[in-house]
């Protein structure tokens, strides 16, 4: 109550976090390698491509020292493809287009396949599996699996907006891209809003809200609404929940419900 700021993090904070994403640049000038807290940056030697954090890429872009290669999902073609999926297909009526798979994990579509995660190694030789936000989801690659073109990374809106703002001449069709991003956002926002029906189950326990594939900004925008609705429903249903608990406790006390529990008690003596 006393803390003046509302719950959750604000959009500027989210986009600040998004600046940690790695993007691919095409340097125009030489730059020696940098030792940063977030990891070393390789030396920039034109015309060799390099992966740098987004904030550094934007800085170099503003100083006209580099060009940014847009990630493959930020192409008007793949964006309009995703928009089609979100709007046309019946099965995506209430869900969002899937996030990119974790490295080595099978796609959401083919659940049957086994995961073959490939570990990476730290300089000390320890094994680790990279997870968002430390995945190269926004770097330009030569070969992108066709399935991955249909996915939006976690920070899609932030990265897209920042690139449109600072590096629009590096993008394929900036106006079209801007329009598509906006449309996508509206379609997905409407889905979040219409998901209130599912929130009831979440408030009563046992249910959940599927937010797979929702981006960071969208979560930030919807957070206060979603948590507000769940809290309201929880408070209305509190008396029923209480009654249910008492019933359960009574059944437990009568002993007919859980015989194994009694055995455990005897073991302790």
């Amino acid at each position: 109550m006393a803390f003046p700021l509302p719950r959750g993090i604000t959009p500027p904070e989210i986009s600040f976090l998004a600046e940690m994403e790695m993007v691919t640049i095409l340097p125009r000038q030489r730059l020696e390698g940098l030792e940063l807290l977030g990891g070393p940056v390789e030396p920039l030697i034109p015309p060799r491509r390099a992966s740098v954090p987004l904030w550094l890429a934007l800085l170099l872009k503003r100083q006209r020292r580099a060009n940014i290669l847009p990630p493959s999902w930020l192409h008007p073609e793949s964006l309009s493809f995703i928009l089609d999926i979100e709007t046309q297909y019946e099965e995506y009526k209430e869900t969002f287009s899937p996030p990119p798979p974790l490295p080595g994990q099978p796609f959401l579509h083919d659940r049957g396949e086994r995961a073959v995660a490939t570990p990476r190694f730290t300089p000390d030789g320890d094994k680790y599996y990279p997870a968002p936000p430390f995945l190269p989801q926004n770097v330009a690659r030569d070969h992108v699996p066709a399935q991955e073109l249909q996915t939006l990374p976690f920070h899609w809106l932030e990265v897209g907006n920042m690139l449109l703002e600072a590096a629009s001449e590096d993008l394929v069709d900036p106006d079209q891209t801007r329009r598509l991003l906006k449309e996508l956002r509206e379609v997905r926002m409407a889905k979040i809003r219409s998901g209130v029906d599912a929130l009831d189950a979440a408030a009563m326990g046992g249910g959940g809200v599927a937010l797979t594939g929702v981006g960071a900004i969208e979560l930030g925008e919807g957070r206060r609404f979603i948590s507000g609705v769940i809290d309201g429903l929880r408070r209305i249903g509190a008396s029923r929940e209480q009654a249910r608990r008492e019933e359960l406790a009574e059944e437990m006390a009568n002993g007919g419900y859980d015989a194994t529990q009694d055995d455990d008690d005897e073991m302790e003596f």
């Binding site: 109550m1 509302p6 959750g8 604000t10 959009p11 500027p12 986009s15 907006n161 703002e165 926002m189 809003r193 219409s194 209130v196 029906d197 929130l199 009831d200 900004i217 930030g220 925008e221 919807g222 957070r223 206060r224 609404f225 507000g228 609705v229 309201g232 429903l233 408070r235 209305i236 249903g237 509190a238 008396s239 029923r240 209480q242 009654a243």
Partner: protein, 178 residues
């Protein structure tokens, strides 16, 4: 619910119809005629906190002082209207803290059906609130009638949703910061 929560305090002050079971000497001031006695069977609207305390005797085994009744805001008529169409009911004129009041009342009464009706109402209206909150004109455009009928819980939800939508728009550069 915190001790200093102003909404909880205001909820406590809402009236609940009570029927006195006993004669109480000298309490006529509640009825509007000071100095008189209150007779058994008198119906008076008492604040929630007082009615709750007076009716609690039944649980302690002594004879109780008053019996509680459902307030008008949660009467059958209102619930039927909510069942028919949750969106057209003006909750604020029924009770400014409608949901907090019903939460407290549900603790006192066993009303299985009321929980269903109220959850359904809240859900339907929340969807409507979200639509209005994303309207850049805010509470001034059409739908002002609906927004005037929101109770305090819903108003807070509206405000939170509107603020986060606005912050995102400002961040995206679609609207100016005021």
């Amino acid at each position: 619910m915190s001790y200093y929560d102003i909404d909880a305090i205001l909820t406590d002050a809402q009236k609940l119809p009570c029927t006195f079971e006993l004669d109480v000497p000298g309490l006529g001031i509640l009825e509007g005629n000071p100095g008189e006695n209150i007779k058994a069977g008198t119906r008076i609207d008492l604040p929630l906190w007082l009615g709750e305390m007076l009716s609690i005797g039944a649980r302690l085994g002594t004879s109780r002082l008053v019996t509680l009744d459902l307030p008008y805001a949660l009467s059958d008529r209102v619930l039927n209207a909510l069942k028919a169409d949750p969106r057209t009911v003006d909750l604020r004129s029924l009770a400014p803290h409608f949901y907090s009041l019903s939460e407290r009342v549900l603790e006192l009464f066993e009303e299985e059906e009321m929980v269903d009706v109220l959850s359904n109402t809240f859900k339907k209206r929340a969807a409507q609130i979200a639509d209005h909150a994303h309207n850049p004109q805010g509470a001034l455009g059409q739908g002002a009638d609906f927004l005037r009928g929101l109770d305090e819980t819903e108003r807070q939800l509206f405000r939170a949703t509107h603020d986060s939508a606005k912050e995102t728009r400002v961040w995206a550069g679609e609207s100016k910061k005021k």
